[in-house]
Amino acid sequence: MRISRGDVEHIARLARLRLTEGEKETYGLQLSDILEYVEKLKELDTSEVDPTSHVIPLSNVFREDLLQGSLSREEALRNAPQAADAFYRVPKIIE
């Protein structure tokens, strides 16, 4: 499996990562190597095998709908890179 430069740019866009030209080249080669190694999974016939997403047999976990304390607004905003009043500040989205 060869990863083209176009593939790398597409994945980086999906992952919201700006890559330098050097990174595009390096990641392209390294991801190709890793995916080539991963190809070995295709040796196994899994047509009759169920997928495992979790190893412990747990289904939905419910709790009572009780009113409980939570973080104060101040605490929730304390780690924000930019906040104003009661809000997170972000670059303008709508013209």
Partner: protein
Amino acid sequence: MEPFRLGVSDAVDLLRRGGISAAELLEALFRRIDAVEPVVRAFVTVTRDEASARLGELESSGEGPHQALHAIPLAVKDNICTAGVKTTCSSRILRNFVPPYESTVTARLLREGYILLGKTNLDEFAMGSSTENSGFFPTRNPWDPERVPGGSSGGSAAAVAADECLAALGSDTGGSIRQPASFCGVVGLKPTYGRVSRYGLVAFASSLDQIGPITKSVRDAALLLNVISGHDPLDSTSAPVDRQDFTRSLDRGVKGLRIGVPKEYFVEGLDREVEQAVRDAIGELERLGAEVSEVSLPHTGYAVATYYILATSEASSNLARYDGVKYGFRAEGADLIEMYMETRAEGFGPEVKRRIMLGTYALSAGYYEAYYRKAQQVRTLIKEDFERAFERVDLIVTPTTPTPAFRLGEKVSDPLQMYLSDIFTISVNLAGVPGISIPCGFSTEGLPIGMQLIGRHFDEETLLRAAHAYEAATGWHGRRPVL
């Protein structure tokens, strides 16, 4: 003996008997940290002032006799949230993050009276096997500063081996507790998935991550597991199992226990000295009364490939939250998308970006079935390998790693070689079973060698009991590096 050399159980006894004061113990550890940190660099943050304040609170609380870890100084991996104390994941993107809440494991340690000494270094977001991927600096192996301590809990393992703390917490997604414990000559336990709450553990791969202790003895690992385990309503993947006292049956020995040796783990690429040390250890278990037989885990060779699809897929999703809005570092950008892309480009290191890219690819349209779903199916086969083996044996024994600690820089340019160093620990996470690494010898170069014991789901009791029997008979765990 100098007080910083103490383990948890011995320190608890000594404090209770009045053989040492809590202040003397804490001071001895900070002096030790000052003495060896310039070489080892295990800590991202040392919480000296907070620890002194905490000691004062504990001394005036009158709770001493009721607390299992009263005034016991421990270190915590820096991906476990500690309220009011910076938790960075050794990432530039979280370098100033101060959690407003406490993880369940540290809340339980606090209730039992522990003192936090500091937060330990890791591969950024726990992604790595050498701690060289830390966004700040690499940690050194106390046995040889030219070697890596392993990873990703390299800071915790090095801090325990260098006697900078009595014990530490780590986290293990593909071997991140057991592999550094093996490289540093200490004990590392990855509990059964669901045994220990993940609430407050910064997520890497949620279906694989588990917190566990790194300690100077098996008894200490049992003692810490007693405190941190148990159901937690704040973690929906926490298993509803009763808490139990894991120290109670430690001395019951291994007589009659059936121990399996998987032939797939003794293959080409396994260092000859590691193989010899582990074979000798198996012989010792046999002398102690265990029944040893060969077993097969036929899908072992597929574990690394399966892991690097599943772990990176989960990571690419979990790490989407670092967008420069609610917490963490933010870079400037012309618009919102630009801001996201610049923030993540500057905030994440190369290995984290590589894994996000791989995971994003595996989950992207057209590839999901071929990679992610396929890996989930192979995970089932790996899990069934263990289920089948555990019909015949009570425990499985393997080397923890194919080689002793490697040199700094040796594998950084070849990610695949780095991934393959986790080949013996990864299956355990995929199957969700518990595993422990304990010291079982040294190479001719004086580097520690670790043996891994693997148990059934929720059978840490048998795991710890066998590990303790071996440790008591051999004493490898008592050796310390010269620093």
